[in-house]
Symmetry: C2
Subunit: 344 residues, 2 copies
C-alpha cells in the first residue's frame, strides 16, 4: 500500500478485467454474481486491502447509516451513559454515531443541528439545552426528512418521537417518601423552569404535598440550584430561615444534594435526623457519601438503548400517518441513609 490513492472497485475491476458493477454487487453479496467470480473478487479486494468509501456509497444511496447525537455535555454522567447505550445498540445495526455537545448554548445547538443535517445523518437524537426555547431548528430537522428523537429534556409541544423518564411520578414518590419518613417542612431546589423536566419535578413535589394536605411554602422553593455550589448556597439560605426546613429535595441533581450535605455537615446538622436529603440521578458518589444519599435512578444506559431501538423500529414502520410514539421509562427511587429516619 505505498500508492498515494486508496483502492477502489475500479482497481479491482481492472485487475480482474470485469465491470465495476459486478465488483459492487459481489461486495454487497447481492444477487446475480456467480459464486466463482464472487470469491475471486472478495479475494482480490482482500489482497489490495480494499476499504469501501462510505461517502460515495452513502451519497448514491441517499442515506448515511449514521445517527447524530446532541447533548448539553458529553462528560456528564447521565449523558455519557445514554450515549454509551445508543452506541451499543446502533453498532449492532451497523450504524455510526456523530456526537456533538451544545454546552447548554442555544446558538451552538442550532449549529450542531445544521452540521448534522449537512452530514445527512438518518436520525438526530437530542436533549435540548437549557437555553433552548425556540424550536425552529428542530422543525427544520423534520423538514429535511430526518427522523428526530428527543430524550429526557424534550420540547413537549413538538410532535416527535420521545424517550423520557416519568419524572413527575419519580419526583412524587421521592417527596412522598420524605413525608412518610415524618419530614414536615420539605424544601425544593428547582432547576430552570424553561426545561420541562424541571417543571415536572416541581409538579411532582407539589402533588405530593397536596396529597398529604401539606402547605406549599414559597420560601421553601428555590430556583436555579443545580450545581454543587448553588445547592450549598441555597442550603445556607434555607437553614438560616426563622423556620427552616427539615428536609431538602434537590430535584436538580445529586451534585446539588451533595452541596446540601456538605453545608449541613459543616453546620453540624445531623442527617437524616435533623435534615433529610434527596437528590436526583443516582450518580456514583451518592452511594458512598456519609450518610449515603437517597436519589432517583434513571436507567441511563437502558435509555440509550431504547432510543436507538426506537429508531430502528420506526424505520421498519412505513406507516407515515402514525402518531409519534413516546416511550416513558419509569425511574426508580433509591432510598438510602440520608432520608432513613424511621427504622421500620
Amino acid at each position: 500500500m505505498k500508492s498515494k490513492k486508496r483502492t477502489t472497485i475500479y482497481d479491482i475491476a481492472e485487475k480482474l478485467n470485469i465491470a465495476p458493477s459486478s465488483v459492487s454487487r459481489a461486495l454487497n453479496n447481492s444477487s446475480y454474481v456467480k459464486e466463482s467470480t464472487k470469491k475471486l473478487i472478495l479475494q482480490t479486494a482482500e489482497e489490495l486491502n480494499y476499504k469501501m468509501n462510505s461517502l460515495a456509497s452513502n451519497l448514491r444511496k441517499g442515506q448515511s447509516k449514521t445517527i447524530g447525537v446532541i447533548v448539553p455535555r458529553i462528560n456528564q454522567n447521565f449523558f455519557s451513559n445514554v450515549i454509551a447505550g445508543i452506541e451499543d445498540a446502533s453498532y449492532k445495526q451497523g450504524y455510526n454515531l456523530i456526537i456533538c455537545q451544545s454546552n447548554e448554548s442555544y446558538e451552538k445547538e442550532v449549529q450542531c443541528v445544521n452540521t448534522l443535517i449537512n452530514q445527512h445523518v438518518d436520525c438526530i437524537v437530542i436533549s435540548i439545552s437549557v437555553e433552548t426555547i425556540n424550536y425552529q431548528h428542530l422543525k427544520n430537522i423534520l423538514d429535511h426528512h430526518i427522523e428526530l428523537i428527543q430524550f429526557d429534556r424534550v420540547a413537549d409541544e413538538l410532535e416527535t418521537l420521545k424517550v423520557i423518564n416519568d419524572t413527575l411520578q419519580a419526583s412524587y414518590e421521592a417527596v412522598n417518601h420524605l413525608i412518610t419518613q415524618g419530614y414536615k417542612r420539605i424544601a425544593l431546589l428547582e432547576g430552570p423552569q424553561s426545561l420541562n423536566i424541571f417543571r415536572q419535578r416541581k409538579e411532582g413535589y407539589l402533588q405530593a404535598l397536596k396529597k398529604h394536605n401539606m402547605p406549599v411554602l414559597n420560601e421553601l422553593m428555590l430556583e436555579n440550584a443545580w450545581t454543587k455550589d448553588l445547592g450549598a448556597q441555597a442550603t445556607r439560605k434555607l437553614l438560616s430561615l426563622p423556620n427552616p426546613p427539615d428536609a431538602i429535595f434537590a430535584s436538580t441533581s445529586d451534585f446539588s444534594a451533595l452541596g446540601v450535605l456538605e453545608v449541613a455537615t459543616a453546620m453540624n446538622i445531623k442527617v437524616p435526623a435533623q435534615l433529610g436529603i434527596c437528590g436526583y440521578s443516582n450518580e456514583d458518589f451518592t452511594e458512598i457519601t456519609s450518610p449515603s444519599i437517597t436519589t432517583i435512578d434513571q436507567f441511563s444506559v437502558d435509555m440509550g438503548k431504547t432510543i436507538a431501538n426506537l429508531y430502528f423500529e420506526e424505520m421498519k414502520n412505513t406507516d407515515v400517518s402514525a402518531t409519534p410514539k413516546t416511550i416513558s421509562i419509569k425511574p426508580k427511587l433509591i432510598t438510602r441513609s440520608s432520608t432513613q429516619r424511621l427504622t421500620e
Copy 2:
C-alpha cells in the same frame, strides 16, 4: 419544504438561471463571483432552506473534516472527559466527531477501525483496549493515509503521534509521598500488564521503593484489581497476611481504591492512621469519601484538547519526514486525608 427531495445547488442555479458552479463558488465565498450575484445566491439558498450535502462535498474533496475516536468505554469518566475536550477543540475548527467504543474487545476495536476507514475520517484517535496486543489494524490506518493519534493507553512500539500522561513519574511521586508519610509496607494493586500504562505505574512504584532502599515484596503486589470489587477482594487478601501492608497504592483506578477503603472501614482499620490509601484518576467521588482519597489527576479534558490541537498542528506541517511527536502531560498528585498521617 414539502417536497420529497432536499434543495441542491442545481435547484438554486435553475431558479436564478445561472450555472451550478457559480452557486458553489458563491456558497464557498470563493473567488470570482460578483458581489451582487453572490448576495442573490446566498439569499436564494436561505429562502429554499438549502443545506449542503457534506457527503458529496467530502467525496469530491477527498477529505471529510471528521475525526474518529475509539475508546474502551464512552461512559467512563476519564474517557468521556477526553472526548468532551476533543469535541470542544474540533468543533472550533469545523470538524465532527465519530465515536466508537471497543468495550475492551480487540475484535470490536478492529471493526471500529475498519468502519472509520470506510467513513474516510481524516484522523483516528484511539486508546487501545486491554485485549489489544496486535497492531495490524493500527498500521492499516496509516496505510490508508489517515492520521493516527494514540492517547493514554498507547502501543509504544508503533511510531505514531501520541498524547500521554507521564504515568511513571506520577506513580513514583505517589509512592514517594506514601513513604514520606512514614508508610513502611506499601502494597500495589496492579492493572493488566499488557497495557503500558499499568506497566509504567508499576515501574514508578518499583523505582520509588528502590530509591528509598525499601524491599520489593512479591506478596504485596497483586495483579488485576481494577474494579471496586476486585480492589476489595485484593484488600481482604492483603490484610489477612501474617504481615499485612500499612498502605495500598491502587494504581489501577479510584474505584479500586474505593474498594480498599470500604474493606478497611468494614474491618475497622483506621485510614490513614493504620492504612494509607492512594488511588488513580481523581474521580469526583474521591473528594467526598471519608476520609477523602489521595489520587492523581490526569487533566483529562485538557488532554482531549491537546489531542485535537496536535492534529490541527500536524495538518499544517507538510514535512512528512518529521518524527511523530509525543506529547506528555504531567499529571498531578492530589494529596488528601487518606494518606495524611503527618501533620506537617
